[in-house]
Structures are given as structure tokens and as C-alpha cells.
Point group: C2
Chain length 321, copies 2
């Protein structure tokens, strides 16, 4: 049953970007930098720090450039940012401090696309040619694709696994057409429709057709399934996960359905370590950062381990006693 478990998992921490975008705040630039600097000391090797979006629409990220300017870049850690268009990409590049990689980004739900970008699936696919040209103009390497709403959509319902397999094919075709080497596909459970069974269904179908492709999962915990979904992903050989410290990205107690955060980094790292899977992360340091995140946002965050405590500390105490 456990033959496909990876030996090592790569964690992409997205707490700062996901969290500060949704928090009412205001949260000072200084405290945002404090969280990023603390995460840098945990052994996490990739941190998504900020979002280069329109400050009029996302006031929480009006200070994106200032945050990037001020955090201490630790050698060996890749710092990334999020952008959604040409302008955002140029802002990210202009910082001179971020790890910039392009992506071919599809969305599995036509209705979601229609609402958010006023595009059909075909138009969105076509629009990726423009993005690829933009990345090339800016010397940004493109080695990954991503599919949003890969497990279901609040506006369209369940998404057939076949559509995801076809979209992976479209991404690879586009890559070939533009002489790219697409190595990784990220499947995002944007609206928290995934269940462990859904992970088996979709990831299984993709792996069957593309056994050599590296996959990563972006999971939300809105319906309490995130850790179980990650566990199912591990069984399907997925060795890369986006996650957020303390489950930043939304508070399940704010009564805004769909607003709950990503899978919680420290809960995920705990499960991985207990399974004997390496992450390179110091769990005890990470737990301190989770408590710091709670202090910064000023309200409880959903992660469990920051309250429950890790087992290794207990084991060490028992051995010493």
C-alpha cells in the first residue's frame, strides 16, 4: 500500500502571501518582514513572500516592494512572489531579489474562468501563448504548468479526471511548441472540492498517462480534508506541496465559506516526519513561527500542532527522564 511514498517532500511555504492578502489588518510592513525572516530560519527552502497585485484591489499588499526590500535573503532559500499580469511580473522582476519562474496556467472550470477572467477554456489556452512570449521577453524560464480548480468548482461542480489529463496534455503541447521543458504540473484545489478519493481519481489518471511528470498539490482546508488529501497525494507519489504556516490564508471561524486557509505547514511536516519522510524543516522552529503568525494577525489560526505540540519533544523528555 505504501510503495509510492516519496522519501523526501518539498514544501513551498505560501503563508506570507496567502495570509496577508486575506487578513483585514492593517499589518505593518515590519511584521510581514518578521514572519518571512522567521520562516527563513526553519529550513524551508522556498517561501512565497508577497503578491504584486493592484493595491486598490488588495490593499494588504500595497507594500509588496517594501517587504521584499527589507527581508533578509538567506542563502539557499528561494523567495518567490505572485503576479497575475504583465505589470505584476515586471514589478516582481524589478525587485531584483526574487526567484522568478514562469508557468503555463490553465483553469479546469470554464464557469470559474468566465466569472474571473471573462474567457472560455479555449481563449484561456490561447492567452497562454501571450504569457509565454512575455516570459521569454523577460528571460524568465518556464518549467512548470498549473491547473486551477482541478478537483471541482463552486460554479461548475465536479471536474472529470479526463479533463485534467487533457489539460496536462495541452500544457505539454504548448511547451513543446515553444521549446520549453515542462517538468512539473501543479494541481490546485482552489475551492476545496478535493477529498482523498478525488486525489486518487485525478492524480491517478494523470500519473497513468504521464508517469514521469513531477506533480505538486495546492490544497485548501475549507472542508477539513487538507491533511487527508496530502496523505492521499503521498500515496500517489506526489512529493511537492504548497502549504501555509499555521494554516494562514483565512480563518475558518470568520463564517466566510470557502475562506479557510491552505493545508497547514507544521501539521503537514509533522505527519511527514512521523512517516519517515524528510523535509529539511526544523519542526520545533516552525512551531514557534506558527505562534508568531498568530501573534501577527491577532487571532487564532487553524493549525492544530501549534497547540497540540509535536511528539519528538515529548519523546526526548521521556528519554531524558
Amino acid at each position: 500500500m505504501m510503495s509510492d511514498l516519496p522519501k523526501r517532500v518539498q514544501i513551498n511555504e505560501e503563508g506570507p502571501r496567502e495570509g496577508f492578502q486575506i487578513e483585514k489588518g492593517p499589518i505593518s510592513t515590519e511584521r510581514k518582514v518578521e514572519l518571512i525572516d522567521a520562516l527563513s530560519e526553519t529550513g524551508i527552502s522556498q517561501i512565497q513572500t508577497v503578491s504584486f497585485v493592484n493595491p486598490a484591489r488588495v490593499p494588504g499588499w500595497a507594500d509588496a516592494e517594501e517587504v521584499v526590500r527589507r527581508f533578509r535573503a538567506k542563502p539557499g532559500v528561494r523567495y518567490t512572489g505572485l503576479w497575475l499580469n504583465d505589470k505584476g511580473l515586471k514589478r516582481a522582476i524589478a525587485t531584483g531579489k526574487l526567484f522568478i519562474k514562469g508557468s503555463i496556467s490553465l483553469t479546469a472550470s470554464e464557469k470559474f474562468l468566465g466569472r474571473n477572467q471573462q474567457r472560455t477554456l479555449a481563449e484561456n489556452l490561447e492567452a497562454q501563448r501571450g504569457m509565454i512570449a512575455l516570459f521569454k521577453e523577460n528571460n524568465v524560464p518556464i518549467e512548470r504548468g498549473s491547473i486551477m480548480a482541478a478537483f471541482g468548482c463552486n460554479f461548475e461542480g465536479d471536474i472529470p479526471a479526463k479533463r485534467i489529463v487533457d489539460m496536462v496534455g495541452q500544457i505539454l503541447d504548448l511547451g513543446q511548441e515553444h521549446d520549453l521543458n515542462i517538468k512539473l504540473i501543479s494541481l490546485a484545489d482552489t475551492m476545496a472540492w478535493a477529498t482523498p478519493q478525488g486525489i486518487y481519481r485525478v492524480v491517478g489518471a494523470v500519473r497513468e498517462k504521464y508517469p514521469d511528470l513531477e506533480l505538486s498539490l495546492h490544497l485548501h482546508d475549507t472542508r477539513g480534508m487538507a491533511i487527508a488529501n496530502a496523505f492521499a497525494g503521498l500515496h500517489m507519489g506526489v512529493a511537492m506541496y504548497d502549504s501555509t504556516v499555521a494554516g494562514l490564508g483565512g480563518c475558518p471561524f470568520a463564517a466566510h465559506a470557502g475562506g479557510a486557509g491552505n493545508v497547514c505547514t507544521e501539521d503537514l511536516v509533522f505527519m511527514l516526519h512521523e512517516m519517515g519522510i524528510e523535509t529539511g524543516v526544523d519542526l520545533e522552529k516552525l512551531l514557534e513561527v506558527a505562534r508568531l503568525a498568530e501573534d501577527i494577525v491577532g487571532h487564532p489560526l487553524p493549525g492544530s500542532l501549534k497547540t497540540g505540540g509535536s511528539l519528538n519533544v515529548l519523546r526526548q523528555k521521556l528519554q531524558a527522564a
Copy 2:
């Protein structure tokens, strides 16, 4: 990978008993009864209602008899209570309204036993003879055994799977010695040491030696692993779970490590239904009860689905549109 998944799962709801024992309250008898009555309408077939413990030690259950007297017993639902000794058992029987079953109850951690009951493993095993006699005196059938701290202990650390297998054997031997037919063993993760891997390890070892024995799991969510542990249990063929509506039994934000509640009933039922596993439970009604539970205790409870919402309601809306 999914060959052992059960087709149907039995949910034992323990929210009232677990919840009202730990809540600071005071919570009125009326509202306790309201929760039990609401649970009775969800299709759940077994509800642990109250605890017959010393009111001086657990004031939240000083009104146990009154709660039992007042709830409406719905035909087809088994209402149970918890007791820890002779006196409690007699109080439970005296209500005339509860489903009374005996259990051979062992604890896997000698240190935990020593702290709580001042007994060694051997003394505790011996004490079970007294309990069996007590059950027989009171015409209480004994068809199950249970093992507390089956996955680890805060005072002893990891528990070897072999010890659990041996204890199952001790329970079956005791049963044989007393002409009992022990059909079910409940494994309790009393201090939340279980991880999905631990479930595979322990449950796998028990199943290998006793393939025909029915198993049930009692899981806590202190470290965020409860749903993933239940998922692992399903893969090991476990078809019975204790759970609490809304995750009653402790609030992860109360900063008392180890105090987080059981696996949340509605989150578990949601996962089961999405896996095509029947429970007989009406999930939408259960979600209303979860919100009622929050109203009764007066603070947020840990379950996710009561905020995130189920998928079937969304699916129906989309089909109707």
C-alpha cells in the same frame, strides 16, 4: 489500494458526553437535552449521551440522570452512557433508558495506568475479572474489548504494535475464560499519538493476527491528524468510528495541549459519503446540529464543514440552475 474499504461505516456519536464534560459552562440541562434530541433526528444510530462520574470531580455531569430522563428516545437509536466504576454502572442501569453493554477495558501504557489508576498492566488485567463479574451480576452483556493509549502515551512514548496485538489476545482469552463472545475491539488514541502510518502499523498488526475481529477507532484531533487517521483506518477495513459533532470535546484554541476534541462527526461523514461509503446519516441535518452545538457552548468549535459547507448542496444548486 482501496480493496479493504468498507461499504458502510457505523458512527458512534460521543459529542454530548465528551463535550459537556470538558466545557466550562455551566450549560443548562435543557440545552444538553436539546443537543441529544437534535442528534437523534440526523440518522445517527448510536449516541453517547452522558457520563456517570463523581459530580464533585466533573460538575458538568451532575445532571446526568436528569438529562437521560428528559431526552426523547427515538426508536432505532441506541443511547449509551459512560461509567468508570460499579457506582456509575448502577446509576446508568437505574435510568432504565440506556443501552448498557459491558467492555473489557485495558490500557496499553503502564505509566498512564499507574498515574490514573495506581495499577500495573498485570493488576489492570486482573481487575477486569472483577468488572466481568460485576457485568454478569447486573445481566450486562459483554461483547467488546477496548484498549486505551493504543498508539502512544504522553508518559510512556510510542507503544509497540506487538503490545497491542498481545493485549487483544489477553482480552480474547479473558472472554473465553468467562464464556463471552468478544466480537469487537476498540482502539483508542487517547493522547493523540496516532498518525496514518501508526494506524497502518497497529491496526495492520492486529488484523494480521485476528483477521475476523471487528475493530473500531476512537480518534482525537489534537495534532490535526484525526481525519487522515480515519482515512487510514478505512483502508485497513475499520468500519466503526467514535466521533463528536463539531469536534466537541475540547477547543484547540484553549491552549491546553491534549485537550482538542475527537474526530469531527460531520467532517468524517462528509469524507465517507464522498468516498461512496454509507453511514445512514443526513449530512445537512448534522451540519445544523454542529452549528447548534457551537451555539450551546458559546464559542467556536473545531469542525471545518460547518463553515465550509457540504458539496451536495452546491451540486444540487448547480443542477437546478
